[in-house]
Symmetry: none
Subunit: 228 residues, 2 copies
Amino acid sequence: MPPTLLVIDDDREFVELLRKRLEGAGYQVRIALDGETGLRILETERPDLVILDIMMPEMDGWEVCRRIRQISTVPILMLTAKGMTTDVVYGLELGADDYVTKPFQADVLLARIRALLRRTSARALPEQGVYRCGEIVLDLDQHTVTVAGRPVQLTPLEFRLLSIMMRNAGRLLPHRYLLTQVWGPEYADDIDNLKLYIHYLRQKIEPDPRHPRYILTEWGIGYRFQCD
Amino acid sequence: MPPTLLVIDDDREFVELLRKRLEGAGYQVRIALDGETGLRILETERPDLVILDIMMPEMDGWEVCRRIRQISTVPILMLTAKGMTTDVVYGLELGADDYVTKPFQADVLLARIRALLRRTSARALPEQGVYRCGEIVLDLDQHTVTVAGRPVQLTPLEFRLLSIMMRNAGRLLPHRYLLTQVWGPEYADDIDNLKLYIHYLRQKIEPDPRHPRYILTEWGIGYRFQCD
DNA sequence: TAGGATTCTTCCGGATTTGGAACCCAGCGG
DNA sequence: CCGCTGGGTTCCAAATCCGGAAGAATCCTA
């Protein structure tokens, strides 16, 4: 599973170019065209690194950076057309980890991304957080799940699937979305797998697996994790 | 105790200027005018960050960087008069963490130093003191381990691994994390080594190595040091 | 230079996880 | 009643992971 990068930038044309380069280098890429969307994707998908543009309408990069740091320690690489040193200093003081000015050589950006991922071992220690839904408690830090207080043993994939569903509790999650998140983009159409693991999960966490209370089926579309 | 920075650069005049700025910012500074000396100081004084110039007679910065990475994961900030992007990429690939080209604004350098130190020290749990877990006592100051009062002889790597696990007792520590912390980022995928040393440790500290009580396996993810 | 400690590579058996395939079931439209 | 679609369930083989063992490579010290 390749590292996931979140790009927050409102320049569509530039973003598409960047996406091609990053995907070409083997990363999975998520795009947000504004800060609000970026913060939401950050919470639900937990990318390994954020590439953040300064110049954006509505919420600018500084503000986004500040908000990210309130909820996450994900490495941030700032990107900007400005080259003024005060900007660089300001960005780094706000909690960014690196700073690249446009225009840049793509391979420099890639090298800096690699260096940052290597240093932070972003994918090493799981981000902290506890998610609760009715009787079900999922602890990312401890990597444990309990149902009505009883610990439940989950396999790595089961845990991944459940954590993604609980992070998006209440939302309708299409098959394709779950498949790409858990298994990667190349499994986006492998519905059979998803069926199977939904089944496993229901066996382990539903009080009555035949009549699910948490993992609901949305016919023809996907699943929804219902939080009462 | 302020962080210690090691500057490796042969330009005396420049180095003295830099030292003033760094000390003015509250850091403790050590100087090495050539690579050989730099490596020696690195081993004896364990600085928190290395600032490394590329252009040096005898051993150049690339070689120094390579040699540092063989023995240490200390953050490295490269410094150079050249601005060619291939140099930047090459330096970062060699294991450097950041790259600043001369001439530079002093406050940019300071901001980048702060950012690097913030990132690397964030997860630095106290490296001294005594950790206890059940019968097992690990004394970082004395560099000793006892099980039920009996001293246990550990090799350097075994000790390093155990200390990282005990400092994060209770948490799930993924393979990648342990490998990065003990062996360095370039060993992040070398699971076999980790298995081996977990095995060694269990032989030495578990009452019944076949049924571990302290070092628990989390299938497919990593290990957990259980403390109760 | 020899010997010992330490680190690292490779292999194997057994257990667990995974995912492919087939089958069953429910609802629906003809 | 029949076939179709999409979801649920069962079964099982293949892939993966873990613990253990044996031995090679390396470093240190005498």
